[in-house]
Amino acid sequence: MGSLQLKSIRKAFGTHEVLKGIDLDVTDGEFVIFVGPSGCGKSTLLRVIAGLEDATQGSIRIDGQEVATVPPAKRGIAMVFQSYALYPHLTVKDNMGLGLKQAGAPAQEIETRVSKASKMLSLDPYLARRPAELSGGQRQRVAIGRAIVREPKLFLFDEPLSNLDAALRVQTRLEIARLHRELKATMIYVTHDQVEAMTLADKIVVLSAGAIEQVGSPMELYNHPANVFVAGFIGSPQMNFIDAGKLGESGAKTVGIRPEHIALSRESGDWKGKVVHVEHLGADTIVYMETEATGLLTVRLFGEHQYATDDVVFATPDRNSMHRFDANDRAIR
């Protein structure tokens, strides 16, 4: 239980086509993350899967069964909304239990499941409170809890952590990972946070303007981006893109090298250049330099380094980690 097949899903609002034929297979128990720039259609796709929005075209199968005409309630899904969407008038407990109650589950059963979920999410002390009396992180957990108790085949998360601050974010992320391990349910997750995507996903789906750019495991995308878009989108700071011509490479139009795959030295190296700006992050140092061969180059160094603006430095890329792209921006393998 919990597999999902999307076949040429299209969705238009009026004449504006938001999803342009999405094909995707998600196997049971997988953790799939959608990433992509703002407005590319991630939420819309999630909502189509949930049945909150009708696709203009295409087929959606959950566990092999066509669900296009099945209302959201009957699809065996649970959705966690970006804005939590808790029922403001119900206590935490009732928020979590309402769905079960509606389905006519016996009170005993509801009690057990809610208390199990609340234990898992450390919500026990708050069961009697209403959403307004909870902090952001707690609300987030209630929203997740509400999804869990229904033990759905399929979880849908829409940027569930976007409103949390750094510390809470890390903590909740770990909880979701644990959840996935324990429940073994299929999860589909939208985020724009690189770290979340890299750490949580079995499979990342990169979307752009309503179409899928690449599907793969996090490290696959990091190491073997299919095209310039994916290469640029995955990784922060962004990959450096250099005109292949300038480097004398033939058979490629663009060469990409990630900031962390460039070594810096004051003495010698492949590309000579001048430091433009340095950012000290403590754990890392980001050096922005201008070289004749490459133009502006971002270099990420581990730990602290005392480079200063206008220093003359030499950069040496790790040739094995270079990416080559053709005239159509596709990766050359």
């Binding site: 049945g51 009708d54 005409t69």
Partner: protein
């Protein structure tokens, strides 16, 4: 493709129910209008039938338009209604802003004081009001009506508007303050435009009793030159109470202006324009 979000059966039922109620709501109005175009015997014999060539008659409208200066009455009603609404909205919004924006001593008391007016019908003050108007030499002027309606509309306007004004983002007003806007500029340039839907609601709620009022026009401005359309048509009904053609025609005529005013305001009704102000 079939819809998952909307079952056609359910929305069919909803339309059915809404159409049913719409019929209930419109039926009497419809009845008035179709019969106003019929000859007297037809009104009586077949009240439900639409006018046919044999029953069609404009005699009602002819009677109405011959009698009294209805165009002038309409104009008076328009002036009174529009000017009163303007002042109610302006003064009401200003007071609501003061009450909702600032914390000062007596704020709650002032709010309660201004709400008393919702509870007592202003009609009770008629004699004192009339005496005041006589003293101010305002009898038989539209000004008298405008003053009364403004006072009458203020309590509810303040009540509703201050609820809405509380929802205007503080950050927005503070941004204005930092931008160097005075409190007046904040009110006029930021808050007023943002509560336009609420203003429209208040305008509609204020408009109805003003347009339809019979009492104060009768007392304060019964003169021919200041007569309002409601007073005009009421007299008409008194005068032609058995002349249903004329009465129905007068009633039909009186429905339209208020409907037009409503349509003007209702564009603003319900939906806000605060989208994009804050994230």
């Amino acid at each position: 493709m079939a819809k998952a979000t909307q079952s056609p059966i359910r929305s069919g039922f909803v339309h059915l129910a809404l159409i049913a109620y719409t019929l209930i709501a419109l039926f009497p109005v419809f009845l008035t209008i179709i019969n106003s175009f019929k000859a007297k015997n037809a009104i009586f014999r077949e009240p439900m039938a639409v006018p046919t060539p044999s029953t069609f008659s404009l005699v009602g409208y002819e009677t109405v338009l011959k009698q009294g200066d209805f165009l002038l009455y309409f104009q008076n009603s328009f002036v009174v209604t529009v000017v009163s609404i303007f002042f109610v909205l302006l003064f009401g919004a200003m007071a609501a802003f003061a009450l909702s924006e600032y914390r000062f001593r007596g704020n709650t008391a002032m709010g309660l004081y201004l709400a008393i007016g919702i509870m007592i019908p202003i009609r009770l003050g008629t004699v004192a009001i009339l005496q005041g108007m006589v003293a101010a030499n305002l009898v038989n002027t539209l000004t008298a009506l405008i003053l009364v309606y403004t006072a009458q509309g203020l309590p509810l306007a303040i009540f509703i508007l201050s609820e809405f004004m509380r929802t205007v983002s503080d950050d927005l007003k503070n941004a204005g303050r930092i931008d160097g806007l005075s409190e007046y500029a904040i009110f006029f340039r930021l808050v007023l435009p943002l509560v336009r839907p609420a203003m429209a609601t208040v305008a509609v709620f204020t408009m109805i009793p003003i347009w339809n009022d019979l009492w104060f026009p009768l007392i304060l401005a019964p003169g021919e030159s200041t007569k309002t359309v409601t007073l005009g048509s009421q007299m008409f009904i008194g005068q032609f109470v058995t002349n249903w053609n004329a009465v129905l025609a007068a009633l039909s005529l009186a429905i339209f202006p208020v409907l037009v005013l409503y349509v003007i305001f209702s564009r603003q009704l319900i939906r806000g324009i605060t989208a994009g102000a804050v994230k």
